[in-house]
Symmetry: C2
Subunit: 256 residues, 2 copies
C-alpha cells in the first residue's frame, strides 16, 4: 500500500511524496499522472502536512449507511444523495476547524471514508470504476447542524456543510486500500464516538463513482465523502476530533 | 461600462479583453488584478467566446424573487437559500447543453443574473460588498427538474443542477452594470418566456455577497446565480435558449 502525502517545508516549499514510517520519499511531476521519485527523503517532523489532494469539489453523500438509515427511519435511496462542499471548505490534517462568525449553533463532526478520484470520470461503469480511483482518504464532514432545517421549504445542506475548514481531509491517500475490511473510528477528545464498518455502505465506492460520474464529470483529486453512520455528535470549541481508518491513518483536527 | 470577455483564437490561443462593438481590445495579466491592455485588437468573428471567467464554484440561489415565491406559495427566506453548481458544470456562450446519458426526464432553462466576484470575500458587510463584485454576467441555470423530488427524504438540488454543461454563463462580465434598472428576458426558440425585473429580488446582489461570504469564502471568478423568477420551462433537444439582460448582452445556448 502506498500512502501519498502533500506537504510544505519549513522554507515554504510545497511537495508531495510517499510516506514510509517517519520519512517522506519525495516525488515530482503530477501525482495523478505518472509521478517520479526525486530520490530525496524528508523527515515527517520537518514538514507540515497539507490536504493530500486539491479537489475541485467534494461530493458529500447523505444516507449511505444501512445502520444510520434504519436509526433515522429513512428508506435506502435508489441513487446516491449528495451535495457539494466547495474547494474553499478544504482543511488539511492538523488544521483548525473554525466556527463561522455569524453562526452560534451546534457544529458536529462526521467521520467518513473519502474516495480520491485518479482520472477524469464521465459515465463510468461500476466494473471500470476501480480504475478511476487513485486511493482513499479520511474525511471529517463538519456540519453546522442547525442550519439544515432553518428554512421550512429548502434544506440547507450546502450552506451547513460548505463553510471554510468544514471539509477536513487527510492525512494521506492510501493507494491499494481495501474498503471492504475497514471501519471508521471517530474519537472526540479521546473518547470513541463512532465505530462502524465500511461494508455497511448502501452504495459502495465503485457504485458511487459510477453513478455520480453519470451525473457530473469527476476530476483528478476530486473527493467523494461516502457518508457517515451512527455516532455523529457535537464539537465544542477546543475539542479535538480524530477520525481513524486502519490502513489509512488518523485525521486529527481541533476546533478553534 | 466595460464588457470583459475570454476567448480562444482559431490557432488555439486563449486570451481575454474588453469587447467594443465587434472588436476585442486584448488585455494581459490577471483579469482580477490590474490587467493591462496589450494594444492588440481582435475581430470578434475571429474568436470563439469562452465562459467569461472560471469559477471555482457557482453558488445558485433558490426562491429569491418575490413574484415567483408568491406564485409557488413560498414565504420569503431569512437568508439566501443556495446549492453549488460545480466548476465541471460550466458552459460558455454558444456551447451546447447536453442531456445526461442516464436521464430521460424534463430539462428546464432558468434565465438569471450572475454576480462575478472580483476579490476574495470573507465576512464582507453589505456596505462593502460592492467592492468585491467585478461585474455581472448572465446565467442559464439548467436543471434536470425531475431529479429534485425523486427521493422522499432529500431534495436533490445539487444533482439536478450540477450536470456537465448545466452552468451556462456569459457572454461577458459587465463592469459598471446597474442591476436596479435591469430585467431578465428569456426566449425559447425566439418566443419570450421570461421577462422579470431584477428589482424584484428578495436578497439583492450586495446582500447576497455579504451573507454568502459569511457562510464561505468567495474567490475571484466565483459566480453567484441570483435565482430565477416566473416563466421557467422545458427545453427539448434542438431548442435554443437566449437569456438577455440589457447592458450585458445575450447568452445563447442550444440543447444538443
Amino acid at each position: 500500500m502506498k500512502l501519498w502525502t502533500r506537504f510544505k517545508t519549513a522554507h515554504g516549499r510545497f511537495g508531495f511524496g510517499v510516506l514510509q514510517n517517519d520519512q517522506i520519499l519525495e516525488y515530482r511531476g503530477d501525482m495523478f499522472a505518472h509521478p517520479l521519485p526525486t530520490g530525496a527523503t524528508i523527515a515527517l517532523t520537518a514538514v507540515e502536512l497539507l490536504p493530500p489532494c486539491e479537489p475541485t469539489k467534494i461530493v458529500a453523500l447523505w444516507n449511505n449507511y444501512h445502520a444510520l438509515g434504519a436509526k433515522l427511519g429513512k428508506s435506502a435511496p435508489v441513487h446516491p444523495l449528495f451535495l457539494i462542499k466547495p474547494a474553499s471548505s478544504l482543511a488539511g490534517p492538523g488544521e483548525t476547524i473554525r466556527r463561522p462568525q455569524a453562526y452560534a449553533g451546534k457544529i458536529v463532526y462526521e467521520g467518513e471514508l473519502g474516495i480520491v478520484i485518479g482520472k477524469r470520470a464521465t459515465n463510468v461503469s461500476v466494473e471500470a470504476a476501480k480504475d478511476y480511483i487513485l486511493g482513499y482518504t479520511i474525511v471529517n464532514d463538519v456540519t453546522a447542524a442547525e442550519l439544515i432545517e432553518q428554512d421550512p421549504n429548502f434544506a440547507q445542506w450546502t450552506r451547513a456543510k460548505g463553510c471554510d475548514t468544514f471539509g477536513c481531509i487527510g492525512p494521506v491517500i492510501a493507494q491499494g486500500f481495501d474498503w471492504r475490511e475497514g471501519a471508521v473510528v471517530t474519537r472526540l477528545d479521546g473518547v470513541e464516538r463512532q465505530n462502524y464498518p465500511l461494508a455497511d455502505m448502501i452504495f459502495n465506492p465503485w457504485e458511487q463513482v459510477s453513478r455520480i460520474s453519470q451525473d457530473m464529470t469527476l476530476l483528478p483529486g476530486d473527493v467523494i465523502a461516502v457518508g457517515t453512520s451512527i455516532g455523529v455528535g457535537s464539537m465544542k470549541e477546543g475539542a479535538t476530533v480524530e477520525v481513524s481508518i486502519e490502513g489509512i491513518g488518523t485525521l486529527t483536527n481541533r476546533m478553534g
